[in-house]
Symmetry: C2
Subunit: 125 residues, 2 copies
């Protein structure tokens, strides 16, 4: 054991970890510094902005993100408290909630997205 295959695997994994850490830290810091939101907050904003025309959100978000359901719920809490989006009850299923960006949310998202893409470009490949 401790074959060269294993060593290569471990090295590959470490470099993935490293890349992931670098990128997500860079994103997180920049977004926090300039827009006062964390990376997860931005990603939820980004998802909501992406399909700002379809159905009951919370649920869908859970499917489009690796975050757990409760994490999403808490991120949305913060975004709502920050006045960036609203939860609105859903007529056809009163358990569900629609999420909608506020004007402030849309504005912040647009600005932050520019930064986000730029940092991705810098950090990926």
């Amino acid at each position: 054991m401790a074959s060269t295959t294993d060593r290569l695997l471990v090295e590959q994994w470490r470099s993935i970890q490293d890349a992931y850490f670098r990128t997500s830290c860079a994103l997180d810091r920049a977004l926090d510094a300039k827009f006062d939101i964390g990376l997860n907050e931005f990603e939820i904003l980004d998802l909501v902005a992406e399909n700002s025309k379809s159905s009951c959100r919370m649920k869908e978000l859970g499917e489009r993100t690796p975050m757990s359901q409760s994490a999403v719920s808490k991120v949305v809490d913060r975004l709502e408290k920050a006045g960036l989006l609203t939860r609105q009850s859903c007529a056809d299923d009163r358990r569900s909630l629609y999420l909608e960006l506020t004007a402030a949310g849309r504005k912040l998202h647009q600005a932050a997205a520019v930064e986000h893409r730029a940092l991705l470009k810098e950090n990926l490949a």
Copy 2:
């Protein structure tokens, strides 16, 4: 804005995130279930096991891992409490500490490493 380049970037990033999450969660759960240690604990064990012949550890670990210095300190705390390694003071620089696996630590590391490599093989590429 919202160029196709940007969309591609974002997709690339999401797939990296996804891969990272899947792999690290799988590792974390398996290691915790079978050996009662988390992924970070294993990685420190792995690093210590790797160069079990050289100098003052804590410091070096900080350089070989994306974890912060204080995170490393706390992981080592847990490993020490679990009886898997020891901190030993360093003759030539009394601020530094040597880390050494205990017999139990070595044993657990060997078993866990097999699992770890197997899961990496499953999840990468």
